[in-house]
Amino acid sequence: MMKGLKKWRLFSILAALTVFLSACGKEQLSTLTPAGEVGKEQLDLMILSTGIMVLVIVVVIAIYAIAIVKFRRSKVGENHMPKQVEGSHTLEIIWTIIPIILLLILAVPTVVSTYNLADVKGMTAKDQEGNAKNLTVNVTAKLYWWEFEYPDLGVVTSQELVVPTGEKVYFNIKASDVKHSFWVPAIGGKLDANTDNLNTFYLTFDEKSEGLEDGVFYGKCAELCGPSHALMDFKVKSMDRDSFNTWVDSMKATGEETASAEGATASQGQELFEASCMSCHAVSGAGSGGGIAPNLTTFGDRNRVAGFLPHDEENIKAWINDPQYFKPGNKMPQPETINNGKKFTDEELSALAEYLLGLSVEK
């Protein structure tokens, strides 16, 4: 019975692996379908280590299965007295040496890759005109949202990271309140956002996010950071370099003109926004980071409300009406505190929602 069980388990592990590796998981989220060089390197390491480890498991299970089948009491007899073997130096040396060899096979690529992935020299590289050669993004993690600042371009956004494909993008990561961790599973491994210091690494985005189910890669906060840790998501849009440049230009342009709302409702929304929300939320993407609330310049282009709610008018209204309900512990004030002690009426909420949905640089 034990034998049957073990075989069954081994078989199902292999079967499960095959199924999961090929089919399951969302392309925009799974580490098994990497869309960037870093993630691919990590997946290679995973396949190598899994291979070695499955080999170890197979050997162990083989000896194990034979031992418990062959030497059970019902086979060898109730009174059988086994030889009291002390040990075997040869065998003990063999199972010390072989694991060491297996681990060396894994250790060498591990060390190489560790240094590769930590190489951020390209961050400070300048071309002949003194401009940065590579794109650098400053990521600031806050309770419970993300700010993305492009220091060399003079552009800032939040909740949706926009990056060009096919090149290294460097990141400066820090937290402004408690520790968080910046993770885009489908692109590459994570790095903590510490409060004390800046962490740096790079990622490459080899595929455009346009073709994905949601048109974005999913980003996560991986370090417990309070009640709404689970909801601290962000999204990543990767696009070819030209589209990215266009995006940057339109972001810069938002600095020159005040976003003017189209239509009467939206104008009403804009007035409300300027009276109640403007002291925290910026609606211009030009400038630098450090905002106390998410920059809403690209709100209309976003994929989610507050990082996780479906992006529609209903949710925008519900969110503004009671942000603490959706993301407990976040820093957005309840509407009473910013609207002369009253909640927004349904009409006002609709106006705000319409105004916010109109904030766009991509359309």
């Binding site: 990590q42 059988h80 086994p82 003990e92 520790k179 994570k190 417990l224 309070g226 840790h229």
Partner: protein, 623 residues
């Protein structure tokens, strides 16, 4: 004084247990309270799995969920796994080395009561305004930021409990170094004693960093110190280092005694001596040593830099070698043996593939760049449950069945034992195997909910259903325990028939002085040697029958620990505005502790003698 058990009233029995300093009774106290906390931690685990059974669930709120995961981890590690292991160490180690008790019986009792009051204090947080909510690792930025008293409960409770653990660890070190019976050289010590020894050494070196870390945190929160406040020159990463310099060895503090239990089980139920004894000992010591060298593998993503990550990656992989040696030695112990599948052996047999699976995912995480993907994802959750449940909890369940007769002179039901095993084992794999994939599919750990559109629904549901099976297994175990305690089927000495070490040679029920005469140890597997040579009694002795000196029971350890419990309340509420009584509480609590220490120091307590005329084997005065 007589060694013959007497019928006693409930009050007398209770008093006996509150004042006992006998290692066998303290073992039972550890098992009872550890078992209680294990059930509490298990209920917390069930709440977690109910909440995560389906996406966008609102069974518990976000804040409450964080309290539950924090308390689940803290309880299981500090208040369940470790005390339960201490229970077995107390029950078995003195018997295994032929000692009358541990080296410091009074301290042994103090260690227990400190652990107990620390654990009670920690769990009272549920009723006094909220439990800690920054994860069992309590990373500094979040724990400093956390409002309310949750983190204070964590810091003070663990501080008291940790003091108890440190005392217990030192006690076992001294006991094993000093109190081995004549002839028991280090290389004749049974493996459970060896692993207890190494684990105790780890406690000695690993708990002080935790103590320091907790003190810094208490000072930050109570007195407004700024060790961890970066805006005032503090540094949060210091906490991570202090915590993991404790936290990584802690894993080995738990798993080495578990290895010890399995190293006892394989020879007994294979009727064959442990294969490669000396390499097992060497591997144990090496694992203990390397356990201290690898703490930063918990911090690969903290940003320590490539060199630190590379060094710690390779050092971590190195641990796989001695662990592998152990696995193969166990396999070869079974090889050529005569394997009997009694309940303890089933757990031991199940442990091998489970722990190997947990071990290899550990090696995968040791590859730092791969860990950037795996860290803080559900893959990690799967990994450490494979190690801690697959290693430690299986050992605890195995050890419970194995050593039950030594503690109670009865057996647990084999039928129910096997039901427990299968439910628990299948439930365990169902719960945690699938979590590897959840991690690979991008699910971070410690999330109280997840969106329905992320492809994690089915796996989470499977995981939760496995947890139900585990719970069912534990319930059957509890029934088994109660039924066994009520039964009158006494088993006597060496109930498994193939006992090899000294603890199986002792007559049942074990007299409170353990050995009338100190035994003489003539080799590894002492009892086995005597049995093979036809010695009916199972022991030869190193000394003639004489009076036995025993220490007196004492209520002082309980009072000492209680004083700290009272003081902790004073310390905790002292930071609140306008609570003058807190200072009084703090002072009274400390006075209780210091006062009882003074009483203990000033009052001579010389113990008493069990006269040889009262010993059962005394026959007329001449030996």
């Amino acid at each position: 004084m007589s060694s013959i058990a007497q019928k006693r009233g409930f009050g007398a029995t209770l008093w006996e247990y509150l004042t006992t300093i006998d290692h066998k009774k303290i073992a039972i106290l550890y098992l009872l309270s550890g078992g209680l906390f294990f059930v509490v931690g298990g209920i917390e685990a069930m709440l977690i799995r109910i909440q995560l059974a389906q996406p966008d669930n609102d069974f518990v709120s976000a804040g409450l969920f964080n309290q539950i995961i924090t308390m689940h981890g803290t309880t299981m590690i500090f208040l369940a796994a470790m005390p339960l292991l201490f229970g077995f160490m107390n029950a078995v180690v003195p018997l295994q080395i032929g000692a009358r008790d541990v080296a410091f019986p009074f301290l042994n009792s103090l260690g227990f009561w400190l652990f107990f009051f620390g654990g009670v204090f920690l769990n009272l947080s549920w009723f006094l305004g909220g439990a800690p909510d920054a994860g069992w690792t309590s990373y500094a930025s979040l724990s400093i930021y956390s409002p309310g008293h949750g983190i204070d409960f964590y810091a003070l409770g663990l501080q008291i409990s940790g003091a108890g653990t440190l005392i217990a660890g030192i006690n076992f070190l001294v006991t094993i170094i000093n109190m081995r019976a004549p002839g028991m050289t280090y290389m004749r010590m049974p493996l459970f004693t060896w692993t207890t020894f190494v684990a105790s050494a780890l406690i000695l070196f690993a708990f002080p960093p935790l103590t320091i870390g907790l003190f810094l945190m208490i000072f930050d929160r109570m007195f407004g110190a700024n060790f961890f406040d970066h805006t005032m020159g503090g540094n949060t990463i210091i906490w991570e280092h202090l915590f993991w310099i404790f936290g990584h060895p802690e894993v080995y503090i738990l798993v080495l005694p578990a290895f010890g239990i399995f190293s006892e089980i394989f020879p007994i139920f294979s009727r064959k001596r442990l294969f490669g004894y000396s390499s097992m000992v060497f591997a144990t010591v090496l694992i203990g040593f390397l356990g201290f060298m690898v703490w930063a593998h918990h911090m690969f993503t903290t940003g320590l830099g490539a060199t630190a990550n590379a060094i710690f990656a390779v050092a971590t992989m190195a641990i796989a070698v001695p662990t592998g040696v152990k696995i193969f030695n166990w396999l070869l112990t079974m090889w050529g043996g005569n394997i009997r599948f009694a309940t303890p052996m089933i757990y031991a047999v199940a442990f091998i593939p489970t722990f190997v699976a947990g071990g290899v995912t550990g090696v995968m995480q040791a590859a730092a760049p791969l860990d950037y993907q795996l860290h803080d994802s559900y893959f990690i959750v799967a990994h450490f449950h494979y190690v801690i449940v697959g290693g430690v909890v299986l050992a605890l369940l195995a050890g419970l069945h194995l050593y039950w007769p030594i503690m109670t002179n009865k057996l647990l039901s084999e039928t129910m034992g096997k039901w427990t095993f299968w439910l628990f084992f299948i439930g365990f794999h169902l719960t945690f195997f699938i979590q590897h994939f959840l991690g690979l599919l991008g699910m971070p750990r410690r999330v109280f909910t997840y969106g329905a559109d992320q492809g994690w629904d089915t796996f989470n549901l499977i995981s939760s259903s496995g947890a139900v099976l585990m719970a069912a297994g534990v319930i059957i175990l509890l029934v088994n325990i109660v039924m066994s305690l009520m039964s009158k089927d006494y088993v006597g000495r060496d109930p498994w028939g193939d006992g090899r070490t000294l603890e199986w040679a002792i007559p049942q029920p074990v007299p409170f002085y353990n050995f009338e005469k100190t035994p003489l140890v003539r080799g590894l597997d002492t009892f086995w040697i005597e049995k093979q040579e036809g010695n009916e009694e199972g022991m030869v002795y190193a000394e003639p029958l004489g009076d036995i000196h025993m220490p007196n029971n004492s209520i002082i350890p309980l009072i000492m620990a209680f004083g700290l419990f009272v003081a902790a309340f004073g310390a905790m509420y002292h930071q609140d505005e306008g609570k003058g009584w807190t200072l009084i509480f703090l002072i009274i609590g400390l006075l209780i502790t210091l006062g009882s220490m003074a009483v203990r120091s000033l009052k001579d307590d010389l113990g008493y003698h069990v006269h040889k005329e009262d010993l059962p084997s005394y026959k007329g005065g001449n030996e």
